[in-house]
């Protein structure tokens, strides 16, 4: 039995233009569309493809979040995951606590591969996979754009500032996904029906016996400084004149 554990985070949908609340206590999330973090969807797609090619026998999706995260886990099951685990936490958890929670799931499930998105598009932290790999004392292959498995090892191509880097890691390992790893499949209606019958276990985070306390306190939220309205020019001649005037050419 070779398992893949995939992390799915519930986040504000990427199409939503997030706004800061006027009183600076947070961002507006009431009535806003929530989805699976796009990078996590890519992680799940990769896990499913590995399983379909015979590289794994079970794909488990797991999330740490509020009760409503069941919706995203159901979507993950409809995409093709075999079962789901929700570690319920109504308060947001910092990446270190999320990594500790995932480690508990790893100890129980013994996966060969843990696939996570490289970052959540809400907090843009880009930390959980790396922290999990450290706590687990296993390799990490972050920002993956290609994953090739070969008898107990993975060759992973990573998107780095300089271009593409390939590393080889022994399994088990944590892999975090970049955008170009794959294009996630669409969920079909019959799959949504089927997903309702798949197991989804919920356990309160307190039962994991980890320190889920926080180190950071957000004092305030602000809208970013806006850019002042620019000028429209009507042709290339005017464009060049403005650039010259600004001393840019």
């Amino acid at each position: 039995m070779s398992k893949i554990l995939v992390g799915l985070k519930r986040v504000v949908d990427y199409n939503v233009r997030v706004r800061v609340k006027p009183d600076g206590t947070g961002v507006v999330t009431e009535g806003v569309k929530m989805s699976i973090n796009p990078f996590d969807e890519i992680a799940l797609e990769e896990a499913l493809r590995i399983k379909e090619k015979g590289g794994a026998t079970e794909v488990i999706v797991a999330s740490i979040g509020p009760a409503d995260t069941q919706q995203q886990l159901r979507t993950g099951l409809a995409m093709g995951a075999d079962r789901a685990i929700l570690v319920q936490s109504d308060a947001p958890v910092e990446p270190l606590a999320a990594a500790k929670a995932f480690l508990k799931l790893i100890e129980k499930e013994g996966p060969q591969i843990v696939l996570l998105g490289k970052q959540g598009i809400d907090d843009d932290n880009n930390q959980t996979g790396q922290m999990l790999a450290a706590l687990w004392n296993r390799p990490q292959a972050t920002f993956a754009s290609k994953v090739e498995l070969d008898s107990g090892r993975a060759k992973v191509t990573r998107e780095v500032d300089a271009g593409l880097e390939t590393i080889e890691v022994d399994l088990p390992a944590v892999i975090t996904t970049d955008l170009r790893l794959n294009e996630p499949r669409y969920v079909k209606l019959p799959d949504i029906m089927k997903a309702k019958k798949k197991p989804l276990d919920t356990l309160p985070i307190a039962e994991l016996g980890i320190d889920a306390g926080s180190q950071f306190k957000t004092l305030k939220y602000e809208a970013p400084a806006g850019r002042s309205k620019g000028v429209m020019v009507k042709d290339v001649g005017e464009l060049v004149a403005v650039l010259k005037q600004k001393g840019l050419i």
Binding site: N125, Q127, R138, A162, F216, P224, V231, L248
Partner: protein
Amino acid sequence: MTKILVVAEHAGGKLNPATAKCVACASAISGAEIDVVVLAADASAVADQAAKLQGVKKVLKVENAANAEPLAAVLAPQIAAAAANYTHVFGPSTTFGKDLMPRVAALLGVGQLSDIMAADSAYTFRRPIYAGNAIITVEAAKDKKVVATVRVASFQAVGEGGSAAVEAAAVNAEIPTHTRFVTRSAAATGRPDLQTAARVVSGGRAVGSADNFKIIYGLADKLGAGVGASRAAVDAGYAPNDLQVGQTGKIIAPELYVAVGISGAIQHLTGIKDARTIVAINKDAEAPIFEVADVGLVGDLFTVIPELEKALG
């Protein structure tokens, strides 16, 4: 006493300019003592460059054949060991730092702050969330080490002229062998590096093909500019991945940014918020890029760019 360890990024014996920006961020914390750590197979050349950075007190060399390539799993335990007597550990918010610093933090048993854009005090920082649509002020617990990545586009590099002491540091850390470097393919373009270029020309989906991207390279060369791309252009294979600008690509702050055939999705805009002047060329007058552009021109790129090149002489 605030003691900050800055992790140097380097390649090919050269210190990456991101390091001088991390030092700038550390220098914003009053009274901080700043050291730089260089991990390499042979760290001497890079350590000498780091020693010149203004505000650096000491440069630590951690030399080991295993450090020839920047593998996070290999470097992290050594940095965690070297960080024992520091209150803060900073690295750049580049792919190098993003890969490495969370691993360092977890080994130290602490959390991490990503992309700090301002240090208001030793324990109060500002950082962007939601692709830069909100900026939060965060207070870190004072009884824990602060491990952070620095959003390099937010800081001006410190100058040179310093003369810090360079010391070899012996660290006691177990180095894993489960992670091995295979290859890195970096296109040597001869153009200014996207992350530090004073001018950048970027092409979007509208460019239409890898072949057409020559138009963007041509204009960039005329301007002595680096080249960038939107995600759509990279996904379609018109430009390589290391040119992607935005939330999940590079965050840049050039003097001049020219967006050609790019609509201006939030994820793209977050990468160029700190550009001094944004020029947008797009055939759709309603394109959101015009809301942030300092200078906008509505037109077809295939006629505008050749005209512009000609006008530039």
